[in-house]
Symmetry: C2
């Protein structure tokens, strides 16, 4: 029984990492479409969404079966609980990448803004690296790496606020930019959401590895 | 043992419904602040967030203990899995209500727009009713009511798109409205996210009740 459990656990882990790789690609493709002003990568984002949705359901089913048939305890149970939550965050990251692709498709119908994309490429890189590291932390049960992801989230938040204010000023100084600047504001927000979901993944890895719930920590200290 | 399990299950259920009631209030208070242009309800939103964060952690711990100590199967296991996910959606609804309160606080520093709030009050009502019904469906294990929540999600999406386009036109015709219209666009988006999370809750209730995963159903049919 124990041997069998480990095999299923390993299978689930590989599915999560596979799903993580697909959503990483989706972020990359959506950003590539935006930066290179090409439609083909955007179509590929939509293609990959179907695979993500399939994995989302399969991984949930795998967790359910593992719990029903093997009644894991302690660390094994923390692993399954973490997978249930990581699965949901990865699916939402995929949704956000689809949103970026959709906003980009609208932007490509118009000429680029003079100020171009501001810090958006940097936001995309940071969000991707946070996702990648949170998945590596999951694969290696590396709580330190996971903590470094949590720390990077404020940087993404800062970039989003800056992009937001700059884009608002661009709109205010030239009303012909409004639609495009609005598209970029939404994209910046999607990227910030991706970073927030990567942070959730990292928090789940910390819980899985150390058995410690670090969420809402700042508020806890206030009480 | 069985008796004890039922007591813990009942306790978890009450915690979820309690958390649901708090986040419902947060939506109501944030919207009240916006409609009546008052700051006091916005402060109350932030107050309640602490309680939501505490419940978020407590409910997760309760689920973990239930799984570790009682190894539930079949319907009982589906209940715990549903609670884990519903817990996460409720916490995010709370976050979105906080976002509405934050955008509203900025809006209150300026005079209202001539076109005022468009369909935003209706969006808030619809999102609240979806949340309320998804929680009632959870309490009563009512899959039919849960399905009705899932069906209403497209209506909220439509209202958000309409608000988005109207607000973009308002910005384009009068650049002095840009900051305020942008605030309302973000609020419309938050309300649409609340409706989407309520839909997730309803989908989890359907899975819990019928053992059927209806998520990503449209895409499944395409394949």
């Amino acid at each position: 029984m124990k041997r069998h459990f480990e095999e299923i656990e390993q299978g689930l882990k590989e599915q999560v990492l596979g799903m993580g790789a697909v959503v990483e690609e989706m972020i990359h493709l959506a950003t590539k479409g935006l930066l290179e002003r090409k439609e083909e990568p955007l179509r590929e984002v939509h293609e990959r969404e179907k695979r993500v949705n399939r994995l989302h359901i399969d991984i949930d089913e795998g967790c359910f079966k593992l719990l029903a048939l093997h009644q894991p305890a302690a660390q094994d149970l923390r692993f399954v609980m973490a997978v249930v939550k990581i699965n949901s965050d990865l699916e939402r990251i995929g949704d956000q990448a689809v949103n970026v692709a959709q906003s980009t498709a609208v932007l490509l119908k118009q000429p680029p803004l003079a100020r171009k994309l501001l810090d958006i490429p940097r936001m995309s890189e940071l969000a991707s690296s946070m996702l990648k590291d949170s998945l590596d932390a999951f694969a290696r049960k590396d709580a330190e790496l996971a903590r470094s992801v949590v720390r990077r989230d404020t940087e993404e938040d800062k970039l989003k606020s800056e992009a937001f204010h700059e884009l608002m000023h661009i709109m205010q100084s030239d009303s012909s930019t409004i639609q495009r600047a609005l598209g970029l504001i939404l994209i910046a927000r999607n990227l910030e959401r991706i970073a927030a979901h990567a942070t959730n993944v990292a928090e789940d890895v910390i819980f899985m590895t150390l058995g410690k719930d670090i969420r809402h920590h700042a508020e806890d200290e206030e009480r």
